[in-house]
């Protein structure tokens, strides 16, 4: 009987193709929107995670001030770090692969007629190691250059392109803050970070050079630390905190006036915020599913009215209330499931195109596909029930008389 009902529903739907397609349009759009949003959101989350691990997944960042204020945001009241702090960390904390003190500011980079406003970072050779960065051309700093604070620089890929175009920059001289710097190397490109910030748009110079020539002080704005593989970053973080509390003479009970950020925590924070955003977008998309359900109910009610005589005939022939209810319910569910399937196909297609345009990976999410399908079936049941019940409860005498 249920198979009969299914065939009947299928025939009823085919009987009025245009109307059936308009009926399911709401469901199609709703499901497609949910699938697209969730798939793209999943891709974006994965992209953020990948970006952060490209910063160096065992990396920790030590900054003065409380809490994490986002890129460049430190609290001015807290005392700055000095190079000594970085050296102390290197000496006293075990399990470290590299420690890179760094400071940065902005400067105009000039080469010939080309002029580019960029950021200048002063650090050591360890910076490249900590940040997981490799050289595309040239060489890194020598120990002598770092100690002496020579005017040498390594260019980020963007700066290289902006200033040199196709020319070879190695051994050329550029000007930063009216000072002449010799280009000794060029970094590999890392592209845009998930914050939308171009990671390749900077010039790296020795820390001492930066302090003397550009900043005019001996401050270190933050210290990058990378743990050896297999070493727990939680332990490294705790050790650095203990050490820095001692060095900065913070009494027991007082808050830290510095903070140590584990990149893993940042990754978790950022990926969870993309997830929340994805969930919000999906929720908005789900509203259109609801609207789609109302569309189905509307058309099913029209259909019940139109088919009143048919229902009367069926009742007269001996159909039970339950059987008429089942017939209309199955019809609504078949419609909404069909809409769900089309929506899933469209949604995945749109997500594939969108992922390509937004340059995030396309990650097929089976769970959301299954959920979307079940949800569309549920929409059919919920919004098909009222019209179906209306059909089942018709008085056969009235229904047969209906024009």
């Amino acid at each position: 009987m249920i198979w009969e009902t299914f065939l009947l529903a299928e025939r009823e739907i085919r009987r009025n193709v245009l109307r059936s397609s308009l009926t399911i349009l709401g469901i199609v759009i709703g499901v497609a929107a949910v699938i697209t949003m969730v798939t793209l959101g999943g891709g974006a989350t994965a992209q953020v995670a990948a970006d952060i691990s490209s910063l160096g997944s065992n990396m920790l960042q030590v900054r003065p001030g409380q809490g994490f204020h986002g890129p460049g945001g430190t609290r001015s009241a807290a005392p700055r770090f000095k190079v000594d702090d970085a050296e102390a960390i290197d000496r006293n904390v075990s399990g470290l692969a590299a420690v890179a003190p760094m400071s940065s500011g902005t400067a105009q980079a000039i080469y010939g007629n080309e002029n580019w406003s960029t950021s200048v970072t002063g650090s050591t050779d360890a910076f490249l190691q900590v940040r997981n960065w490799s050289l595309a051309e040239g060489r890194g700093f020598t120990g002598g250059e770092i100690r002496a604070g020579k005017n040498v620089c390594i260019l980020g890929a963007t700066v290289r392109t902006e200033l040199f175009g196709g020319q070879d920059p190695v051994n050329a001289s550029i000007r930063l803050q009216k000072l002449s710097f010799q280009v000794i190397g060029v970094l590999d490109s890392k592209g845009q970070s998930s914050f939308g910030h171009d990671q390749d748009d900077f010039v790296l110079i020795p820390l001492r050079t930066f302090q003397r020539r550009i900043a005019g002080n001996t401050d270190v704005s933050s210290i990058y630390v990378s743990a050896k593989d297999g070493v727990s970053t939680e332990k490294v973080k705790a050790d650095i905190e203990t050490l820095m509390r001692e060095r900065r003479r913070i009494s027991v009970g007082d808050d830290d006036d510095f903070n140590v950020r584990d990149m893993k925590e940042i990754m978790v924070a950022l990926t969870s915020s993309t997830r929340v955003l994805t969930a919000l977008l999906a929720a908005v998309a789900a509203v259109s599913l609801l609207v789609g359900g109302i569309g189905i109910m509307n058309i099913m009610l029209v259909s019940v009215t139109e088919r009143t005589r048919e229902i009367g005939t069926r009742l007269a022939i001996g159909a039970l209330e339950r059987e008429v209810l089942q017939q209309f319910l199955v019809e609504a569910v078949v419609l909404s499931c069909f809409g769900g399937i089309i929506g899933i196909i469209l949604g995945l297609g749109a997500a594939a195109v969108g992922a390509d345009m937004l340059r995030v990976p396309f990650l097929f999410n089976l769970k959301i596909v299954v959920i979307a399908f079940l949800f569309s079936a549920a929409v059919g049941v919920v919004f098909g029930y009222f019209p179906a019940r209306k059909a089942a409860r018709l008085d056969p005498i009235e229904a047969l008389r209906h024009e």
Partner: protein, 243 residues
């Protein structure tokens, strides 16, 4: 009240109607469609129900068809008191014992003649192979062999009514209720339909109760029951002379 006599009656009557009234509305707005009707119908009879509109004949047909129940009095179908049954129980009675033919044919649109005839068998749960065979036989018995695949839109009015009759008799019902079956047809087509009904009545012993207002069609029946103002007009209740 001689209920004992009536219940004894029901042993050899297919249908017994005892003091049936049907009232619509309540209090001062109450409208009496039937004001106490008694009659019985035996298996194999062909009865024409006649009367002007508003006389109660349609109400009576609805009650006989188990679509409606009496406000008062009792309707026994094969000894079963239909008035005491639930909506679904009455649906099962219709499914298993009754066949319906309507004035407006009431076939499913855009559905082939064969599928239309199969419909009551679907509700009976008849397996598909048997259903096909029985529906084809029924269509053949109303002279529509070869028209199985045609939809109502492709059939003439007479042919549509034949499909409807095939649908009504495919379940081998005890009673066939026909409500103005010739009302939408011309005289020649009407006669064909009446010949068909008469043949089913005689050859298959199907009891037929037919509402009509045309004397010519009523003449095919073995007995005529006239309704007037919610009661049976006994003056015109006549037996068929050449029975």
């Amino acid at each position: 009240m001689n209920t004992q006599n009536h219940s004894k009656d029901s042993h050899h009557s297919l249908i017994t109607i005892n003091g049936v009234t049907r009232v619509y509305g309540q209090g001062s707005a109450a409208m009496y469609a039937l004001r106490g009707v008694d009659f019985s119908i035996h298996t194999g009879e062909f009865v024409a129900v006649m009367g002007p509109s508003g006389s109660g004949k349609s109400t009576c047909m609805n009650i006989l068809g188990c679509l409606d129940t009496p406000t008062d009095g009792e309707y026994l179908l094969e000894g079963v008191n239909v008035g005491k049954l639930s909506r679904d129980q009455r649906a099962l009675l219709r499914r298993n014992y009754l066949g319906f033919v309507f004035q407006g044919f009431n076939l499913l649109n855009r559905t082939s003649a064969l599928e239309n005839v199969e419909l009551p068998l679907i509700y009976r749960g008849t397996p598909i192979a048997e259903r096909r065979i029985r529906a084809k036989e029924a269509l053949a018995s109303v002279g529509l062999e070869g028209w199985e695949a045609h939809t109502p839109g492709e059939l003439s009015g007479g042919q549509q009514q034949r499909v409807a009759i095939a649908r009504a008799i495919v379940t081998h019902p005890r009673v066939l209720l026909a409500d103005e079956p010739t009302g939408n047809l011309d005289t020649a087509r009407s006669r064909e339909i009446m010949e068909l009904l008469t043949s089913f009545n005689r050859e298959r012993n199907i009891t037929i109760i037919m509402v009509t207002h045309e004397a010519e069609m009523a003449a095919y029946a073995g007995r005529r029951i006239h309704f007037i103002d919610g009661v049976i007009d006994n003056g015109q209740d006549t037996e068929r002379k050449n029975a």
